[in-house]
């Protein structure tokens, strides 16, 4: 594999590998919680980037797959006593299948129409799950405490969840790189630049977009299961926050859309900034406004994101920063 010899492939991987490793060795609960939030954002932003960055389709519905996949996984975990691993895979698989079905319909829309449709899907999914009795309706589901026993109690279960998330995040980064440097990824980027031209040149646009949508949806489905297992409950208000979709968009934009390192960098920066603002006495009540201002400045003046900007400014770094 050519990828193994590229520094651009290794940089994000090594960062996450070392970071998770330190947390696992340190065994500090607070460090784990902080790293969990960040790694979750990295996984969500990177998987969104596979759709957004490579094909240029702006989706506000990324969190639908987080919610529905999380619900599915959690349902099997709590009601049918599945193990965390199979439940997470089931959550991811359901998200991917759903994305395939939805994608065949919705991906025919372009630009803002697609974006609007995904907002609609998010709201429809939230409203539907609130009324869906097997998923507990508006009150949601709770995990039975005995479910933690097979991981050696509640404490160790949290560590297991973290380890799984860590591996999922690493997997996303690998997939993100491989897609970008494949023939398939080249087709996606052609779609991003000019879909009609790409189709004329032989890119099977509908199939390629649907497949991308499925890949991009698989990850949040898994991450959702892990997140709700960690929390111990799931409810519609938590699972389908339009806000979280937009935050993921912000992270991708901040780091640089269409790059592998960018979404990761964006996710860590955004969460770091948010944590700082939330705890700082001066900005505490204004944290949302400050983040907004920050976002506005990025959108207006550095639209390519941090990594995109560096790549544009220093062509030599292009081989290293993917």
């Amino acid at each position: 594999m050519k990828a193994v010899r590229q520094p651009g492939f290794w940089i994000p991987l090594v960062i996450v590998l070392v970071w998770g490793g330190i947390v696992l060795i340190g065994r500090q609960d607070t460090a784990r919680e902080a790293a969990f939030t960040m790694l979750m954002s990295v996984a969500l932003a990177s998987s969104l980037n596979i759709l957004l960055g490579y094909t240029g389709y702006v989706s506000f519905g990324h969190i639908v797959f987080f919610g529905l996949g999380g619900y599915t996984g959690f349902y099997f975990l709590s009601q049918h006593n599945w193990s965390l691993y199979t439940a997470a895979l089931a959550g991811g698989a359901l998200s991917a299948v759903l994305a395939g079905l939805l994608g065949m319909a919705v991906l025919r829309l372009r630009g803002a129409y697609f974006a609007l449709a995904t907002i609609g899907i998010n709201e429809a999914a939230r409203a539907f799950v609130s009324n869906f009795e097997p998923f507990g309706g508006a009150t949601g589901l709770f995990v039975n405490f005995s479910a933690y026993d097979r991981y050696g109690g509640a404490g160790p279960a949290l560590w297991t969840t973290f380890t799984v998330l860590w591996i999922v995040t690493l997997a996303v980064l690998v997939v993100s790189y491989l897609v970008k440097h494949s023939r398939f990824g080249l087709g996606l980027m052609a779609i991003r630049e000019d879909e009609d031209a790409a189709m004329v040149m032989g890119v099977k646009s509908p199939q390629a977009k649907t497949l991308t949508f499925m890949i991009s949806a698989f990850i949040p489905g898994m991450v959702g299961t892990l997140y709700f297992f960690k929390n111990g409950n799931v409810e519609p208000g938590d699972a389908f926050q339009l806000h979280m979709s937009i935050e993921s968009l912000v992270m991708v934009m901040l780091g640089g859309q269409g790059t592998v390192l960018g979404p990761m960098l964006g996710a860590v920066t955004y969460q770091g900034l948010r944590g700082f603002l939330l705890t700082s006495p001066i900005f505490k009540s204004l944290h949302l406004a400050v983040s907004g201002l920050f976002l506005l400045l990025i959108v207006l003046f550095v639209p390519a994101g941090v990594v995109g900007w560096v790549r544009g400014r220093f062509p030599r770094l292009r081989r290293i920063l993917e």
Binding site: L52, I119, M253, A289, L296
Partner: protein
Amino acid sequence: MLDQLLSSLTDGLLLGFVYGLAAMGLSLIWGVMTVINLAHGPVIALGMFGTYLLFIKGGWNPYAALLAVAGVGLLFGFLIYVVAVHRVLNAPHLSTLLATFAVNMILIGVGTAVFSTSPHNIDFPLGSLEVGPIAVPGTRLVAALGAILFTAALYVFLYFTRAGKAIRAVANNRKAAELMGIHSSRVLALSFGIGTMLAAVAGGLISTFFPFTILSGGPYELKSFVICVLGGLGNPLGALLGGLLLGGLEGLIPTFMPVSWVPVVEFGLFVLVLLVKPSGLLGAK
């Protein structure tokens, strides 16, 4: 049963006029510059608070306050356009979406710090009008009338004034309009201002009969998306019909199934219309 149906349908339709007014602002902005204004919700909420402050602190009549809110809304729209939208107008969609969302965050952030997220309400009852079995609260009736009035004014403005014609020309073809000597930047700023104004006025009207918080704009923003798509994105007058349709649905659905299913039907319909006929049920130009 029939009485209940009639009265809830009337309620829904009256509310529909106000929904339509809010959606009209969004639709106008989309029609003229193909921007989805994600700052629409907070502007609606600010319209509510503007009316509230003038009523409580200034002792104004809420309906007089609405006119002031409209004026401020127009200026505020100019400001948003100049600061956040103008620079990214020709960039990919993601940029304008994120720029307007950034404005959304700033407004919500500052609004939360100033007003907190506790509910407020305007206590200005106008009695109620009873026609047979149906009792209509006066505030809703006046709100619907206000929405119709603003729609009529918008129609007159767009079709019979020079500035309005310029807006339609720019919406139709910006380059051609520029070649004909229209300053497109000014027209775009004006359209954004009017769109923002309509949202603020709709918020003000809603605040006369529903309690509200700084976050209340969100649901109306989502409803506006649905309405715009029903009425045809970019067709401001279609938005009023879309609003009536949505209001009517909201009135009708609860008589057949639990209220909590209303959003499922609404957003399901929304996605369906987008898929089958993206130009809207009523068709945009």
